[in-house]
Symmetry: C2
Subunit: 251 residues, 2 copies
């Protein structure tokens, strides 16, 4: 961007890690956050979002701006909004899928996400297994497991993400949980861009159950290993698609 007449105003890669203080206007950022919340399963399919006044405060944004964002998501059919008491914004049961196709030039991005996942997710599983859990934590974990078990194909991805994030939240580190959420969101974005059908849901189901057992049983080592194996499936899927694309491409 901002390339004027052959005079590239490129940002020094040295300052990339500084991160933007503002990634866009308040409206765009709010849409982004909400969308992320939906994809990650923080707002599960069919669930009601918090009231506008609360949500606006939670997002650090004015209600007017939030309302614009909500309207946008309604227009895009991610939400349906109902008025009156007991009304609110509800997550669509089967949200629209993006059709943007993953190209070979995204190789870097894919490797980024896969590497990041492979670091934070197994570590989170192991750390969760190493923690002493409260009864509430155990039930929330099992609830998340059941939810993803009973999910329809259209609802699977966010509920899957929710389970993984739930595991990370059993950890004494909020930052680690946030990192897993980030990894999940990024993975979901990649998966959205692959034309393949979701397969192996039954297999994932077994793996999920094994991971949860290891965590509840307090077995960090096997929780880590099981999580690594669980991730391997998606890793192969993404790498495989990318490799296939690369062959097709002529430069």
């Amino acid at each position: 961007m901002a390339t004027i007449d052959g005079t590239p105003t490129e940002i020094d890669p040295k300052y990339r890690l500084l991160g933007m203080a503002r990634k866009g206007n308040a409206f765009e950022e709010t849409v982004e956050q909400l969308l992320r919340g939906i994809k990650i399963g923080i707002f599960a399919p069919g669930e009601r979002l918090p009231a506008e006044r609360e949500l606006a405060e939670a997002l650090g944004v004015s209600r007017a701006t939030l309302r614009d964002a909500l309207a946008e998501l309604q227009k895009a059919q991610y939400l349906t909004i109902q008025r009156g008491r007991y009304g609110g914004a509800f997550v669509t049961d089967t949200p629209p899928a993006r059709s943007e196709i993953l190209g070979w030039q995204d190789h870097e991005l894919v490797e980024d996400v896969l590497a990041f996942r492979s670091v934070v997710e197994p570590a989170a599983a192991a750390m969760a297994a190493d923690s002493s859990l409260t009864a509430a934590q155990r039930t929330s974990l099992l609830d998340a497991l059941n939810a993803v078990s009973n999910a329809t194909p259209g609802q699977y991805r966010p509920l899957d993400a929710r389970l993984h994030i739930c595991i990370a939240e059993l950890t004494p580190s909020r930052r680690l949980a946030a990192a897993v959420a980030e990894a999940r969101a990024a993975t979901s974005d990649l998966l959205d861009r692959i034309p393949f059908l979701e397969r192996n849901i039954e297999h994932s189901e077994e793996q999920h159950r094994a991971i949860v057992d290891a965590i509840l049983g307090g077995n960090p080592a096997s929780a880590r290993t099981l999580m690594e194996e669980h991730l391997a499936g998606t890793t192969a899927l993404l790498r495989g698609f990318l490799a296939g694309e690369r062959q097709t491409h002529n430069d």
Copy 2:
């Protein structure tokens, strides 16, 4: 916050992972980012910041807002600003230290940061050692090592952070690098809040050199182990101070 008359407007912890779309106004966020950049060593002691026009664009903020932030940091003696060509904003050689003391009630925060560090930093070191590095990457790594070796005590922390982040940037995952930067910033914040003098700099120096050797030598396993041992020092320091505090406290 926002507790009115016994009616707590607490945010449901369930929505914490959503993260705020806006953490404050543009001015505040800009000050925060710049401060972070200084503490992390992205802007090393004595170094010149990018020109206002560039920096503003990099931060996604208007030049006016950026200038307000810079003026604030100058007032707080983090920066000195000079006009004219070859002028600019320079990082103070010995920035002011915060005096806020770390108390026993921050136990959660400390465990959060320590756990997060212990996950991302050794993983980054191992992954860096596993990568095939370009000549430029090798020299930048050695440069960072030399810089921290020659640092005065006042400049040590940011240059230390810079080395660790440099290691993480050898990794194929930008997200992992960002995570290490986050961990480093959080650690630095904690360290700012304990009254102990920095000790063991010589010992750290040896460890740094060993880690860099392992990375350049392509030995992931020992890079990971060495990094874990390196982190252990600070971990003990922070935990130890916290334990000492707890005994002193009467509730």
